[in-house]
Symmetry: C2
Subunit: 213 residues, 2 copies
């Protein structure tokens, strides 16, 4: 009896998962969720479909693993910004620059997230949708805190922090779109620099005007 308990670890597991994720990222970001098939992903990774399903439970799970990674990377930056030393304004400018870097480094992730935003969420399993919603709120909340801090420090004008957070997020995401659609004529880095330059100009003038008023 007994029988060996020889559980075996798969030495190639990480390697495989990485290969599948990379293939999936490439295809999902290029063609979107629905137009990418599991066979394609498997083939792109150099394996059969059955093997892909050995490592991933479903298409949905694979997809959301990527979406989650993308979110985490962005969220990491926002958290790091919040924890930095300095004024809220300095934090926001730092964040802006880092976000641009991130997008340049991981253009595929940006494209994936962007396509995901246009998918009809109702078609996915509730647990994933819920997760997404939480992620989105998390970012907005952190951003809102930063802006509230800036208002407290009198570096930003008295505006509704929540709206300001949404608008800031909107501006960044909107610029991402322009960049994704035509990277040759629209340089995201240059655009971000313009935003920062104009913002500081505005805020300086506003403080000066307020000081005189």
């Amino acid at each position: 009896m007994g029988k060996s308990l020889g559980l075996r670890k798969n030495p190639a597991k990480d390697e495989r998962e990485q290969a599948f994720k990379q293939a999936a990222l490439k295809l999902f970001s290029a063609k979107g969720y629905h137009k990418t098939t599991m066979s394609e992903i498997a083939m792109e990774a150099g394996f059969g479909k059955g093997t892909l399903y050995w490592y991933w439970k479903s298409k949905e799970e694979l997809y959301f693993a990527l979406v989650e990674e993308s979110h985490n990377e962005f969220m990491g930056l926002v958290s790091e910004a919040a924890e930095r030393e300095g004024s809220a304004l300095e934090k926001l400018y730092w964040l802006g620059n880092e976000v641009v870097d991130l997008h340049y480094r991981h253009r595929d992730y940006t494209k994936l997230s962007w396509k995901m935003r246009a998918e009809e969420l109702e078609a996915f399993s509730p647990q994933y949708v819920e997760k997404l919603r939480r992620n989105s709120s998390e970012i907005k909340e952190k951003l809102e805190e930063l802006i509230a801090q800036g208002i407290e420090e009198e570096l930003l004008p008295q505006v509704d922090p929540y709206y300001m957070a949404c608008m800031l997020l909107g501006l960044i995401e909107g610029m991402e779109i322009q960049w994704l659609e035509d990277s040759d004529s629209f340089d995201l880095r240059k655009a971000m620099n313009m935003v920062v330059r104009i913002s500081s100009l505005f805020l300086d003038n506003a403080r000066e005007a307020a000081g005189k008023g």
Copy 2:
């Protein structure tokens, strides 16, 4: 061959086409292109699938007819703004308000366009893609002209007009996204008012500072 005189028109033709377009708009905007079926559209319009295909050559054609209508409506506003009396700034503020109205009036169109933006265009017929690209450029060009005018009139600071146009478009589209995703807590009209208020504050201060410098 036949149709020599093209007479004998179907009196119900316009009515049918409208019914199908309305049904398609409702479903496409709610579920996206891929998850909407032609049978559903036909049923929603109150006809059989065969009838739908009597009026429309393909799913693609029907979809792009809607996308184009949406685009035309937006483009119409931009053109109207450009032709108005007044300064570039007045035109831009007017445009901002009208755009918000348009979105409130035709939320479905907004949602449809938005979903379309995330589709991979390569999957559609080249003629449609070309048309879309032209439309998009047209809007950016018109916006760029308006901004250039504003700079000439010294109402706007000296910035690259093309970049400014992209950023403005990005801001608006980004705010649309926030609004589409959570209309309850983010009121597009209120956000636009904030943008206008902050902009004029900024521009007033900048001109004042420049005047003193």
